[in-house]
């Protein structure tokens, strides 16, 4: 189930444009970034369910990468907003179901439900932005090549690359067909089921024809059943520092509650 696909259609290409930027982060080996992202998500999700303030120091990772990678915040925020409803939908039940008061801010009681709801939303922000940053800094080609070298089946790496490449072609074709139907209906009727079935069937036939043509073109250029991925980059000390440094930082925030310590120190000295 995908929501708002058409609206996002062009933004997909935007992500790959971002991946072609040149910055210290973009120059890192894709494997280093993939590993760091996974460690980050695992650490975020390992926090206890009422954790909110303890998660805050982890924002340093997405912010640092956005800043160092020169990524546009607006594009990433739009994608976050599009993806938010599901987390909201499941998370919003927590305040309704978990009523016991776990803490008080002044005289205002805070229920466990609200705390865990905010925790879910913070986790959502952290994990989704980390995933978006990963693609924006590596791009589909380098990411797939890197994942393949880390043991992902080659057939699958190639599948993702093909899917991605032909998404633009087949997608354009589909949108053109849709537009032509809409024009013939003069905007007065929505697409009915019968027409829809024919449209999608037609699109499928065209897609399959295209696959045949692509295959013939590949054979004509000497395709022997083996796909060679692009020349891999090398991982050196920069990558080791990147992965090691961030991992150490993530684990440190997981073990010591930086936010609580900071708050305790401040309120004690302040009051």
């Amino acid at each position: 189930m995908m929501s708002g696909g058409a609206a996002n259609f062009l933004e997909v290409g935007r992500m790959d444009e971002l991946a072609r930027l040149d910055s210290p982060v973009h120059r890192l080996d894709a494997r280093a970034q993939a590993i760091t992202t996974i460690v980050f998500i695992l650490v975020v999700m390992s926090f206890p369910r009422y954790a909110v303030s303890a998660l805050m120091p982890l924002f340093v990772y997405p912010v640092a990468l956005i800043a160092a990678g020169n990524l546009p915040v607006g594009v990433l925020l739009r994608k976050l907003a599009v993806a938010a409803p599901f987390a909201l939908f499941v998370g919003i039940f927590n305040p309704l179901l978990d009523h016991h008061v776990v803490t008080r801010v002044g005289s205002f009681p805070v229920t466990g439900g609200w705390l865990s709801f905010f925790s879910i939303m913070v986790r959502f922000l952290l994990t989704v932005s980390a995933a978006l940053i990963l693609v924006s800094c590596t791009g589909i080609n380098r990411l797939c090549a890197g994942m393949e070298r880390m043991g992902m089946p080659r057939v699958f790496a190639i599948q993702i690359l093909f899917l991605y490449r032909y998404f633009f072609v087949v997608g354009d074709e589909g949108l053109r067909m849709k537009r032509s139907v809409e024009i013939r209906c003069a905007g007065s009727r929505k697409l009915g089921f019968r027409v829809y079935g024919h449209l999608i069937g037609q699109l499928l036939l065209r897609a399959m024809d295209r696959a045949q043509r692509i295959y013939r073109a590949m054979v004509a250029r000497g395709f022997d059943g083996e796909i060679r991925l692009m020349e891999p980059t090398r991982a050196g000390w920069r990558e080791a520092v990147f992965v090691g440094g961030w991992t150490a930082l993530f684990l440190a925030t997981r073990i010591w509650n930086v936010a609580d310590g900071l708050g305790g120190w401040l309120t004690r000295s302040g009051l």
Partner: protein, 344 residues
């Protein structure tokens, strides 16, 4: 329904990743063994086709809502289960990376929920059986309906189970099931109708296309993958259920039964979660990594509010101040690191 990372615990996400990665490796081997070069572009383009088809909606009469093709079942019909599973996985991977639709940790869950059921259960067990050898029109429609509905019901149930076992959502099992299953019954009916309509169209317009591009080796009906897959899931669920049983003898019935008191449900949930946290601590790559969590999650917060360590106005204000400050600092340090990294 794509699950987000924010609702999946590392234990559940990791387990489902392991299961899915195994299935993918096995499907990749099967596709490779088929030794059909045409399959590579066909799989790629059909993945792009599914993406596109999901962007085109039709209006559902009366309800005012709209529907579109999900795609799992039609891929299985066109490509056979193994290649279809890989294509579904690739579609979900791209969705999670480019659309933030479903998380990376949850990707294993999502691939399993939306790929395993249509490719390895609904298609080989139901679709081929109902459609029969002759594939008359009526039978093809019935087959698509039954297979799509069952596939989506299983997928939705997977979402419920994985969310529940993750212990992050407070939603009681029963309520969640009662929300998810009917919604996905409707989605399943739409999916069945669309799949049947597209298959019928292709069968009429170009009958040979349905048999095209799929090597015999990949369409052969074999129940082995289904049994192996189910066995793996059963083993995992069995393991989880037994942790359940060890903390609360009748925990599962409790969760299934009408939720009479919130306390009990919260207690049950904590039981599962505490156990999973325990497993997580054991499997963590650094010892002591999940230590703090285990201690926190082990407390039955529902039954004994006093046991929550911080019912104290002083500490909670400090937590609030600290959290806010930590966020600000994180942002500042993040920007500061930018200059550092530029120098580097």
């Amino acid at each position: 329904m794509h699950m987000a990372d924010a609702l999946v615990s590392p234990a559940v996400g990791g387990t489902m990743w392991a299961v899915t990665a195994g299935l993918m490796a096995w499907c990749a081997r099967k596709v490779k063994e088929a030794r059909d070069d045409r399959l590579i572009p066909m799989m790629g383009v059909l993945g792009a086709f599914i993406f596109t088809a999901q962007m085109i909606n039709f209006s559902i009469p009366v309800t005012g809502s709209s529907g579109h093709l999900g795609g799992g079942l039609i891929l299985a019909v066109l490509l056979g289960p193994y290649a279809a599973f890989l294509v579904i996985a690739s579609v979900l991977a791209v969705q999670s990376l480019f659309f933030a639709d479903g998380g990376l940790l949850a990707l294993g869950c999502n691939i399993f929920n939306l790929g395993f059921a249509p490719a390895f259960i609904a298609y080989p067990l139901l679709y081929t059986l109902v459609a029969g050898k002759d594939r008359t029109r009526a039978r093809a429609w019935a087959a698509a309906m039954v297979a799509a509905i069952v596939g989506l019901q299983l997928g939705a149930f997977g979402v419920v189970l994985e969310t529940k076992l993750s212990g992050i959502s407070e939603l009681p099992f029963r309520t969640f099931v009662l929300i998810m299953q009917p919604i996905h019954l409707a989605i399943g009916i739409v999916e069945g109708l669309v799949t049947a309509a597209v298959v019928a169209f292709v069968a009429r317009a170009r009958p040979e296309a349905l048999a095209l591009g799929v090597p015999r080796a990949l369409t052969a009906r074999s129940l082995r993958p289904v049994f192996i897959g189910l066995l793996v899931v059963a083993a995992i669920l069995g393991g989880v259920a037994s942790w359940f049983a060890s903390t609360h003898p009748d925990g599962l019935e409790w969760a299934m039964a009408k939720v009479t008191g919130k306390e009990e449900v919260a207690g049950v949930e904590d039981g599962v979660h505490a156990k999973l946290a325990g497993v997580q601590a054991k499997t963590a790559f650094l010892p002591g990594y999940g230590f703090k969590k285990e201690r926190d999650a082990g407390k039955p917060s529902g039954t004994d509010p006093e046991s929550w360590p911080a019912v104290d106005a002083g500490t909670s204000v400090s937590g609030l101040v600290g959290g806010f400050l930590a966020f600000i600092l994180a942002v500042i340090i993040g920007f500061a690191l930018k200059t550092r990294m530029k120098v580097a």
